[in-house]
């Protein structure tokens, strides 16, 4: 996760507004730090970092809002919309590997259970000798083996992975439109002007 950059020149004994301005200037800058990288859907880390930057900016606008005469509510809504959208993308980026891990977990559980069935059958054979009815014994063994399989759980998990990937693509397409919209509507310049930041 992107660490917030240190803010120089904050004077705790001074008024809130000039200090808030200094802090906001750095945090606004951080939001646009990965402007080029986030235009590539594969840049998962930068997308996540940008989400965190929006989140920090949102909280700061809420906390420092009182220090400024301008109404920051419209900016808060824009920031929150971007944070939510990037959050939804991040959820998919986290969920897909988790579901893939779940598939591996199912396989491991299945392997363990089947191994136990085979070991149990071998132990019984050692204890009691070969069964009188080999065919019936094989049918029982096979039923136990089928019971240990987790194969019927895989289609659902695979379908969920496919669904999450599809959703991620759709969400990313929406993000690109919104991101461009922020630039076109001069979000940064408007916000900086509202809180009195001069670049």
């Amino acid at each position: 996760m992107a660490k917030p950059r240190p803010v120089r020149g904050v004077k705790p004994g001074a008024r809130l507004a000039p200090n808030a301005r200094r802090i906001l200037a750095v945090r606004i800058d951080e939001v646009f730090e990965h402007d080029r990288a986030v235009r590539d859907p594969a840049h998962v880390t930068e997308l996540h970092d940008t989400r965190i930057c929006f989140k920090r900016l949102r909280y700061l606008l809420e906390i420092f809002g009182i220090a400024f005469r301008a109404d920051l509510e419209p900016f808060l809504e824009e920031v929150k919309a971007m944070q939510d959208l990037l959050g939804d993308i991040h959820d998919r980026d986290v969920q897909v590997p988790m579901l893939e891990e779940h598939l591996r977990w199912l396989e491991d559980r299945e392997a363990d259970a089947m191994q136990a069935v085979v070991a149990g059958a071998a132990a019984r054979r050692r204890r009691a000798g070969p069964p009188v009815d080999e065919e019936a014994a094989f049918r029982r063994f096979r039923a136990r083996l089928d019971g240990a399989r987790r194969g019927d759980e895989r289609p659902g998990v695979l379908a969920l992975i496919a669904r999450r990937r599809r959703e991620r693509d759709e969400l990313y397409a929406r993000f690109l439109v919104e991101w461009e919209g922020l630039h076109e509507s001069r979000f940064r310049e408007r916000l900086e002007a509202a809180v009195g930041i001069r670049r």
Binding site: I63, D152, A159
Partner: protein, 172 residues
């Protein structure tokens, strides 16, 4: 989502240090107001509200970090972060379980066992999270963290929690 508590006495012309004390102590008390409900575990919204408040508290601490000595600030922030992270693990599972339960009717019959199995696994993991939450709050209680945190804020900002008297918004 629970509304953020109003910060008493916070004015446009406040000093940065004074604002730091008022905002952080308000967010701190706001977060702790959900502790008992979270520990009871009867309503998942209590845990959610506590997590949201803990994130507001962290954000406030980050915003006002320059008002505090870096070393003790890091130590206190680490504990708050631990609260957020511990609650976050449980909350993520609550959200996942709810989402999968909503999704279940949309899945085909051959896909359902997989989703049901996944829900069961998350439920098991969620039960384990309760133990982590209880252990964390028991430890903080034992360490007297709450009183120490409030003293630390007062010593660096001059804001006393008893005089500030943070309280939930009317109607909550």
């Amino acid at each position: 989502m629970a509304r953020a508590w109003d910060v008493h006495g916070l004015r446009r012309d406040a000093r940065f240090r004074d604002a730091a004390g008022r905002v952080i102590l308000t967010r701190w008390r706001e977060m702790m107001s959900f502790r008992d409900g979270t520990l009871r575990g009867e309503d998942i919204e209590e845990l959610h509200a506590m997590r949201v408040s803990s994130r507001r508290l962290r954000a406030a601490m980050d915003a006002f970090a320059p008002a505090f000595p870096p070393k003790s600030f890091r130590r206190h922030l680490r504990v708050v972060k631990e609260v957020t992270d511990t609650l976050g693990d449980a909350r993520d599972l609550d959200v996942s379980i709810e989402g999968l339960e909503r999704l279940l009717p949309q899945m085909t019959p051959d896909e359902r066992p997989g989703i049901e199995g996944l829900i069961e696994r998350y439920r098991e993991e969620r039960r384990a999270e309760d133990a982590h939450i209880h252990a964390l709050f028991a430890r903080l209680e034992e360490e007297g963290f709450a009183a120490a945190f409030e003293r630390w804020i007062r010593s660096h900002t001059g804001v006393d929690v008893a005089r500030l008297a943070p309280s939930p918004p009317e109607g909550d």
